[in-house]
Symmetry: C2
Subunit: 378 residues, 2 copies
């Protein structure tokens, strides 16, 4: 069977597909019987994900949103932009991005490395109370490298504009994000849902909060109009696999470890980012020319202002994501796995109130330690 | 002669060119003798401009910067983006943009309407002390229409991203602007010049002013990374032709008229822009969805914040342009026509100090009337 036209793969046809691509076939680690196992494991909202022979991941984008169905169409071209982003991120942080083996534009399909057990989705690890001692360092490294090297701090204007033009084609997915993150939680939408009836007044309050709406407009504008760097765009704990297993631990100490990890992640990111900036100060980047930013005082001021803006943006976007995960279309297992609705609603309300405060007051925070203090108060 | 390859036109070959394009030839208003007059009138920094038979303008971009010469190359593709922008602006404000008759990508050439006398370049009119009673209204109309209809207030995300991708190709000209507006005035550059020796300490002070350098970095980032709308990009008094001649007038009243025109221009722009926003509130624009911004209070707040941000940006970019016109590569006739260097330097220093204050303190101003008051104090 030749896959010369787009068709949706299933657990049978995906084997045919892999057989037809020599570069993929050779990646399969087959046992003596040459039996090829296939498992569909996608638990995200958009795509289908197959593990083939415990060796290769086949990720296919369909022309609609998986968690809703064909009633919500979405261009499958998004696979092309995902493949491009993965390859660029892999070039910049090869140790933290699964290798892309193959991209098929006709089939909207990415073949990439399978992360075998003990790798599990980080969100599930956190819910199980597992500590990952390298988590903050790895995340900081990934974020600092991918951000810095695709920003105007490193790239020339001509390179930057060329890349921006390339990714402008991903408009449909950006528009989808605009809707589910920056719009739907603040208006009545058929896709919204929440822990009803307990959070009904909370959801209603979001739709009545004028100051919150001003802040979300500000972030939406940044998201829609500003091309600062090539960012992941969906970097949450379900988008990370982690393999180092430590003893599960649900004690108070585990909560402390999570708070510490939040703090470490930002601080390590900050330090790594500034180190990259200092290292490449005299490179091709055209944002801060060394002949202008030519003394330690102004360099420090410029870096401080840049990082403060980035910090406030991060708080805002993080808060927007918290809100949309509680009252929007796509929720998260962290809360959904709490079966007692009253208990779930209580946790969700705390998160919602924290997020609302962060969205409105984010510019008042000067460092991540203040955020951790604020979390403790909720 | 067929113009199948790029060549620089002169006053002779431009006639051959026009003869070869039927749509242009028919635009010429020839007298009985069929004598075709040609005059090169370009007084800008980048391009060559011919008037043919007092009927048609031929504007050609060469692969370098006119006011410097071949030692400063610049892609001639810029003519393509200029033609696209002119056509889009003409569609949005046909009464305020000269009609484009013809665009030739090979020759990097735009043929457009000639604005016959009494039209003159506005800068020359202002230097001559001429009042233009419709100036503020016309400028406000042009700015409000072109900005609003190319922003996300009116355009859908998909349209907006497609247009952004198209204009990303104009990177070389953006990079040129980055250099001459946001970089060179704040560093030693072979192209910089100023009224020396009188402004030597002032130019030196710019290169030592850390706070100013932070502000210019902020504006450079907005200019380089943010695609808010299709703006003119070089909208100063030499980019405007005006035809209504009133009595020249160098009295105090003329200065008052200029200040009043500054104030009127912003206020009329503001009103027109808000009127367009209100009118198209339920259109395709995806920035402020009516289901979210659903009561008069939040609509007012959102508009006020948007316009305040725009005001502060305008003050910043305006100040950056004032600085670069005094110490950078390209100066303006307003000052250059003052032959007494001491007197010229005195005027320039006042403008420089006003610009520095605006660049640093722009966020403290709440309305255009405060700006006019500040100008009076300099």
């Amino acid at each position: 069977m030749a896959f010369t036209e787009f068709c949706r793969l299933d657990e049978r046809s995906v084997i045919e597909y892999v057989k037809g691509v020599p570069g993929l076939w050779s990646k399969l680690e087959l046992d003596d019987d040459n039996i090829i196992t296939v498992k569909e494991i996608g638990d995200g909202n958009l795509n289908f994900v197959f593990v083939v022979a415990n060796s290769v991941i086949i990720k296919q984008a369909l022309p609609y949103i998986r968690c809703i169905g064909e009633s919500w169409p979405l261009t499958k071209d998004r696979a092309y932009f995902e493949a491009m982003a993965l390859q660029e991120q892999g070039r910049l942080t090869p140790h933290h991005v699964p290798q892309v083996y193959h991209f098929d534009p006709t089939m909207s399909l990415i073949a990439m490395r399978y992360l075998e057990p003990p790798h599990i989705v980080l969100r599930k690890g956190l819910i199980a109370g597992i500590q990952y001692p390298l988590l903050a360092r790895h995340m900081a490294h990934f974020m600092a490298n991918t951000f810095f090297f695709t920003s105007l701090l490193f790239r020339s204007t001509l390179d930057h504009k060329r890349e921006v033009a390339k990714f402008c084609g991903n408009a449909a997915l950006c528009r989808h994000t605009q809707q589910v993150v920056f719009s739907d939680p603040y208006q009545i939408s058929q896709y919204n849902h929440w822990t009803s009836p307990y959070l009904d007044p909370d959801a209603e309050a979001l739709r009545q909060d004028d100051l919150l709406k001003l802040e979300i407009a500000d972030l939406k504008s940044k998201f829609s109009e500003r091309a600062l760097a090539l960012i992941h765009g969906d970097l949450h704990t379900s988008s990370v696999m982690d393999g180092l297993v430590h003893q599960p631990n649900h004690s108070k100490a585990y909560k402390e470890w999570i708070l510490q990890t939040i703090e470490d992640t930002w601080n390590l990111f900050y330090d790594k980012f500034i180190a990259l900036w200092d290292e490449h100060r005299n490179g091709a980047g055209e944002a801060y020319l060394p002949a202008i930013y030519n003394n330690p005082e102004v360099q420090l001021l410029a870096q401080k202002r840049y990082m403060t803006d980035l910090f406030h943006d991060s708080l805002g976007f993080g808060a927007a994501k918290m809100i949309r995960r509680i009252v929007g279309v796509a929720h998260v297992e962290d809360f959904e796995s709490i079966t007692d609705a009253v208990k779930r609603a209580t946790c969700e309300r705390k998160a919602l109130n924290l997020a609302k405060m962060l969205l409105k007051d984010r510019r008042k925070f000067e460092g991540i330690a203040e955020i951790v203090s604020a979390i403790r108060q909720f």
